[in-house]
Amino acid sequence: MPRMNMVQALNSAMDIMLDRDQNVVLIGQDIGYFGGVFRCTDGLQRKYGEHRVIDAPIAEGGIVGSAIGMGVNGLRPVAEIQFADYIYPGCDQIISELARLRYRTAGDFYAPVTIRTPCGGGIRGGQTHSQSPEGIFTHLCGVKVVMPSNPYDAKGLLIAAIEDDDPVIFFEPKRIYNGPFDGEPDKPAVPWSNHEKGEVPSDYYTIPIGRADVVREGEEVTMLCYGTMVHVCLAAAQAMDVDAEVIDLRTLSPLDVETIRQSVEKTGRCVVVHEATRFSGYGAELAATVQETCFYSLEAPILRVTGWDTPYPHAFEWDYFPTKKRVSKALEDVLELA
C-alpha cells in the first residue's frame, strides 16, 4: 500500500475526482500553476488544464460566490480558502446562500460545493494563520462540516465530500499535514510514513460523512476530539495510562450522536478537546449533547480542554495550544471527580 502524508492524500482525492468526473473543478488562490501554498493541488493544473484547476483572485467572497454559480450550472466545485483565518470575507455567501439555497428553493436549486481550508495552530502562525473557526460553521444548518485527523480518512472523506450533493466545509488541520503531532512541541517531528493511517490506497474509496471513528476503546472515560487533537488525546491517554475511549468525530455536523452515546453510557465520564476558543464553541455543543443524551450515566461533569478565549498568540503558542500536558491533567481531573 502506498504511504502518503495528508497533503498527498488530499491531492490524490482531488486527482481521482478530477479524473472520474469532468464536472469537478478546483478554484482558489495559488492552487493552479503553483500547486497551492501547502502544495495540496500540486501537479493538478498541469494534468487537467487551466479551466479545471483555476487560480483565483484574492477574494474569498468571490471564490465562494462564483463556486455557487458553477455548482448551480452543473459543476462540482472544490474551492480552497488559503487559510481558515481568511474564510470570513466568504461568510455571507456561505451562510446566506450556500447553506440555504436548497431549502429556499424547495430543492429546485442546490450547489454541491466543497470548501477546503487549512486550520489550526502550532505552526507559529500567530493570530491570522492558526484559527479553528469550525464552531461558526457547525452552527449553520444546510452545510456539513468535516475535519479529518489522518491521511487515510482525509482522502476518503474528501472524495465523499466532493460527491456529496450538499455543501461541505472541509477543514484540514495543517499541523498534521506532514505527520501526526501528539501535543508535545519539544519532541522531534515524525512523518506519516510510520503511521498506520499513512497507508493510503491509491484508488478511489470513500469514508462516509456523518460517522465518527472509535480510535481507541476504553472503559474509564470518553474523549471526544477531531483533527490534530485526536493525536494529543491518544498520547495523553497513553501517558496517563488511563483506559480511555477516544472518539475521532471526523464529521462535526451532522454529528454521530449514537457513537458518542454508546461510549459515554459505558464510561460515565467525558472530556471534550478542541483547539478553537472555548466560549460558545463547538465543544459546548458536544457537552450539551452528551449531558442531554447520557445524563443518567454521567459520574462527573464533562470537561472541556480548548484554546483559551483569546486570539491565538505568536509567542505563547504552546501555552495556548491544548497540549498533551493540558489534556493529561484534564483526564486526571475527570477521573478524580466523583
Partner: protein
C-alpha cells in the same frame, strides 16, 4: 470637535415639501450615441456609452439612431403585453396586501421595460439571476401568474414550499434563479454560472440584475473582478431607479459618475441606457449578449429609471422624497412610451390597448382565483408542516428527524393540555 465639520454628504434632490429636481440627470438626445460593433475592444468603445445615454425613442416616439433594434410589430406587442401584465399583476398584488391576503409585496412600476425588454433580448437557455424587482423577467418568459401568486401566498402549490417571503420566486424550468433577501449575492453567482458555461464550452450566457444601492455591496466587486479576469459570458445590470429605500443614488456613489462608469475601470464596457425606453433596453441587452456569447466578455449596463412607488409594502416614500417626483421624472413611463410609439406607426390603437388591459385584468383575476384554490394564508389547503424539515439537506439527517418528531409531540401534547 473644535473646528467646523467638513464631511461631504451627497445632497438629496428633493425632500418632502421641496420641488422635484432631476437636473442632475444628464439626458442626451435619442439616437445620439454611436453603436460600436459588439466585438470592439474596450479601448475603442467611445466614452459616450458611459456618460451619455443610449436612447432610441425620440420625443415624438420615433425610433432614431444606430441602436434601433428594428423589432417587428409582433415583438413590440409582446413587449407591451408583458409590461402591462407585470404592471397589472403588481397592482393586483398590492391590493391583496392591503386586504391582508399576503404578508408583503414589492412593485416594479416604472421599471417594467428593464426586465421585459431584457428577457426578450436574451435566449430561453440563458440563465437569469434577478433581484426582487424583476418580476417582468418571469412574466416575459411565460410564467403562469398563478404560480407567482402561489409563492406569495405560501400555499400548497408554492414552489418554495412556504419557506420564503412573498416575491422571492425562482423557476428552474424557466432558467430563472432564486431571489435572495440578501442583496447582490446573485451577482458573483451569475458570473460563476457563466464561467461554468465557458468551462463546458456551452454558449448559454448568464445575466443578473441589482439595484444601484446594491452596487455598494462587496459582491458587486467580486462579480466585476471575476467577470473581467475570466471574461465570463455574463451581462451585469444595475437598475438605477434613483432610490435605495430612503437613500438617494448619491449615497451609493452615483453623485459624480454614472454607475456605468464602474465597468471600464475593471476592463468591462459600460452602457448607460434609458431604462424607460423599451427599445433602448432591448438594444443594449442584445449588444451585450452578442458580445458575451461570442466570448468577447462581460458588459455592465446601467438602466436609468425611477422607482415610482414605495420601496415595498413596509415603506412610505412621502417621508423622504417630494410627492411630485414621479410625475416630474424626465424619462416618462415605459408602457406609455412604447404604446405611443406603436400607435404612431399604426401598430396599435387606444381601443386595442383598452381591450388588452381588460383582458389582462381578467387574466390576473382568474389567476388569483386559481391560486386561492391552492390555499391562502387563512384557508387551506395548507402545506404539510412536516415540510419544514425537508430540503435542509438532500437526505434528512437524524437530528432533523428527531426535531420533526419533537414538533409533532408538542402538537399532540398541546391538544391534550
Amino acid at each position: 470637535m473644535s473646528r467646523k465639520p467638513r464631511l461631504h454628504i451627497p445632497p438629496a434632490p428633493a425632500r418632502p415639501g421641496a420641488d422635484p429636481d432631476f437636473s442632475y440627470i444628464d439626458i442626451v438626445e435619442a439616437g445620439s450615441v454611436p453603436r460600436p460593433d459588439p466585438h470592439t475592444r474596450l479601448r475603442e468603445i467611445p466614452n459616450s456609452l458611459i456618460f451619455d445615454m443610449v436612447r432610441v425613442l425620440d420625443d415624438a416616439h420615433a425610433p432614431v439612431g444606430p441602436w434601433d433594434p428594428q423589432l417587428d410589430p409582433e415583438e413590440l406587442q409582446a413587449g407591451l403585453r408583458f409590461m402591462l401584465e407585470t404592471r397589472l399583476y403588481d397592482d393586483h398584488m398590492l391590493r391583496m396586501h392591503r386586504q391582508g391576503k399576503i404578508s408583503f409585496y414589492m412593485k416594479s412600476r416604472g421599471e417594467e421595460a428593464v426586465s421585459v425588454a431584457a428577457a426578450m433580448a436574451l435566449r430561453p437557455g440563458d440563465m437569469l439571476f434577478p433581484s426582487y424587482r424583476n418580476q417582468g423577467l418571469q412574466i416575459s418568459r411565460g410564467r403562469n401568474l398563478a404560480d407567482l401568486m402561489n409563492q406569495c401566498l405560501s400555499n400548497s402549490a408554492d414552489m418554495c414550499k412556504g419557506r420564503q417571503m412573498p416575491i422571492m420566486y425562482h423557476w428552474r424550468r424557466g432558467n430563472i434563479f432564486s431571489i435572495s433577501g440578501n442583496l447582490t449575492t446573485q451577482y458573483p453567482q451569475a458570473v460563476g454560472w457563466a464561467m461554468a458555461a465557458a468551462i463546458k464550452g456551452e454558449d448559454d450566457i448568464a445575466a443578473s440584475w441589482i439595484g444601484e444601492g446594491s452596487s455598494a455591496e462587496a459582491d458587486f466587486h467580486h462579480a466585476m473582478t471575476f467577470a473581467a479576469v475570466y471574461m465570463a459570458p455574463v451581462v451585469l445590470n444595475i437598475v438605477n431607479n434613483q432610490y435605495a429605500i430612503s437613500t438617494f443614488q448619491g449615497t451609493a456613489g452615483g453623485e459624480r459618475r454614472p454607475f456605468a462608469a464602474r465597468g471600464p475601470g475593471y476592463g468591462i464596457p459600460g452602457i448607460r441606457v434609458d431604462g424607460n425606453d423599451f427599445l433602448a433596453v432591448y438594444a443594449a441587452t442584445t449588444w451585450a449578449a452578442e458580445r458575451a456569447r461570442a466570448g468577447t466578455g462581460p458588459t455592465l449596463i446601467e438602466h436609468v429609471t425611477y422607482r415610482v412607488d414605495a420601496h415595498s409594502t413596509s415603506d412610505d416614500p412621502s417621508r423622504y422624497r417630494s410627492k411630485a417626483e414621479p410625475q416630474a421624472w424626465p424619462l416618462g413611463d415605459p408602457v406609455e412610451r412604447l404604446k405611443a410609439h406603436m400607435i404612431k406607426f399604426g401598430q396599435w390603437s387606444e381601443s386595442r390597448h383598452e381591450a388588452l388591459v381588460a383582458e389582462i385584468t381578467e387574466q390576473v383575476a382568474s389567476a388569483w382565483e386559481e391560486a386561492c384554490s391552492y390555499g391562502t394564508m387563512a384557508e387551506g389547503p395548507f402545506l404539510d408542516k412536516n415540510e419544514l424539515f425537508e430540503d435542509v439537506y438532500r437526505d434528512m439527517p437524524t437530528h432533523l428527524i428527531q426535531q420533526r418528531e419533537q414538533m409533532l409531540e408538542v402538537d399532540r401534547w398541546g391538544e391534550e393540555n
